[in-house]
């Protein structure tokens, strides 16, 4: 069996993987989307549409993954279907993969890569970069990482098949997450200083620095506190406009 998929098929599956959460729901999570993305590979491997229909019903059942890492599972399952692996084995395999792909993706992307890129974008904006440079830079950098993960996932999943769990464990993904977290903290620090630097007088800069320190201390309570302060100030400003 070939270790890789034809390019045209890979592109089709990658495009479909972008829609994998299109019907996300609280019962099957992204099960239907998984079957949707898997369809071209099932048609390549299975004999007729009836077999494909049965496989689609099976794969539309409960499944979850981080959306960017769903291609790891897609590739691996496509390999198992092509090798005519017994259904129970494939189902157990998917169940085993479900939790780890979600947790890994959350840590790598939602807690590290995305906040880093957005903090970097905020730093650019606070440094008075043109709006198109801010958006363009962040969009390109972020999605380069995002799309690399999808492409890597599909290639790795299909190549490894049942062994994909071992491949994930051996990949330096936790270390990569750590380094991205370091960059994120650095970017957040730079952005904070740039925000403080927007003060037009020493007193204003001191006030802004105190706000940053308050954020460090308050942690997760900063968002609701900021929301309340902004809301109250908005109301007060509207009232003062009338006096």
């Amino acid at each position: 069996m070939s270790e890789s998929l034809p390019r045209a098929l890979r592109v089709r599956v990658l495009m479909r993987s972008m829609l994998v959460q299109g019907s996300w729901n609280y019962e099957t999570l992204l099960g239907t989307g998984f079957a949707f993305a898997l369809l071209p590979m099932l048609r390549r491997s299975l004999d007729d549409e009836e077999e494909v229909s049965r496989a689609l019903a099976r794969h539309a059942e409960l499944f979850n993954s981080h959306p960017y890492l769903a291609t790891l599972a897609l590739g691996a399952v496509a390999r198992l279907e092509a090798e005519r692996t017994p259904e129970q084995v494939t189902t157990r395999f998917k169940n085993a993969l479900r939790g780890s792909l979600g947790a890994l993706g959350d840590q790598l992307f939602w807690r590290s890569w995305r906040p880093f890129c957005l903090a970097f974008g905020l730093a650019l904006a606070l440094a008075a970069a043109p709006w198109w440079l801010v958006l363009g830079t962040v969009f390109v950098v972020y999605n380069a990482g995002h799309l690399w993960a999808r492409v890597w996932g599909l290639r790795t999943g299909y190549g490894a098949g049942l062994e994909v769990g071992r491949v994930i464990r051996e990949a330096p993904l936790p270390r990569l997450g750590q380094r991205i977290g370091d960059l994120g903290a650095l970017a957040a620090g730079i952005a904070t200083a740039l925000a403080v630097g927007l003060g037009e007088a020493p007193a204003e800069m001191a006030l802004l620095a105190a706000a940053a320190a308050a954020g460090i201390v308050l942690g997760g309570r900063t968002r609701p506190a900021a929301g309340i302060v902004i809301g109250a100030a908005a109301l007060l400003a509207a009232l003062l406009e009338r006096t």
Partner: protein
């Protein structure tokens, strides 16, 4: 007060795109406030004003994580509304606070609509024990759910645009007014939220402070 028809069409499309980008399609960052608000400002001819709203809302959203099946406020369409409305209301700086405050409230409404959508999706894709599912039926159900999400985003954007621009015009008719104070408060909120980020990055305080030192050096040199 209201956008031109062509700008309105762009905003509704952007709102729909921001809605689906949040979960259903791609997740390419268009649903993030930094992008949604700035692009909304661009649609009405004032991207820099949209960026101001985007920066404040993005700082408020850095710590909001869509992990597991948690329910969280949805930022995309509300940021489109806030970015466009502030761009239309500018240069009334106090309107920035009003636009952000509205977005924070409207995100709760948007989040509730996401929850409802997911309930509808559950019914839309349920197989009720069937062992066969044709490709055409699968695609119809899946893409139907996606279309519903896009429609949800368009409707949210339309409703928000019907409310916020006239509200800002009535609430903040003055041009300068409390501009300096409002701007300072907005920046203070951003600074505080960026400070809170150190916890998002697993309490890497030393690296954060190194970054702050680098940033201060940039400010001093500039």
């Amino acid at each position: 007060m209201w956008p031109e028809p062509s700008a309105l069409a762009l905003l509704l499309l952007l709102g729909g795109w921001a809605a689906v980008d949040g979960t259903s399609v791609g997740q390419l960052l268009i649903s993030r406030p930094l992008f949604a608000a700035t692009l909304a400002g661009w649609a009405v001819g004032a991207p820099e004003q949209g960026l101001l709203v985007g920066v404040v809302l993005e700082a408020l959203h850095l710590g909001v994580l869509p992990v597991g099946a948690s329910r969280y406020p949805e930022s995309g369409p509300p940021a489109v509304v806030a970015g466009a409305a502030y761009a239309l209301a500018a240069p009334a700086s106090a309107a920035l606070l009003g636009a952000v405050a509205f977005a924070l409230l409207y995100e709760r409404v948007a989040g509730a609509s996401v929850h409802q959508l997911r309930q509808w999706n559950r019914r839309l894709v349920a197989l009720h024990g069937r062992t066969q599912l044709s490709a055409s039926e699968l695609q119809r159900r899946h893409l139907g759910a996606l279309a519903l999400d896009a429609l949800r985003g368009v409707l949210l954007t339309a409703l928000g645009l019907a409310v916020l621009p006239p509200l800002l015009r009535v609430a903040y008719p003055g041009a300068a007014g409390l501009g300096a104070g409002a701007s300072l408060l907005a920046v203070a909120a951003v600074a505080a939220l960026l400070g809170a980020c150190v916890h998002l990055f697993a309490d890497r305080l030393r690296i954060y402070l190194v970054g702050a030192a680098v940033g201060l050096l940039v400010v001093w040199i500039a």
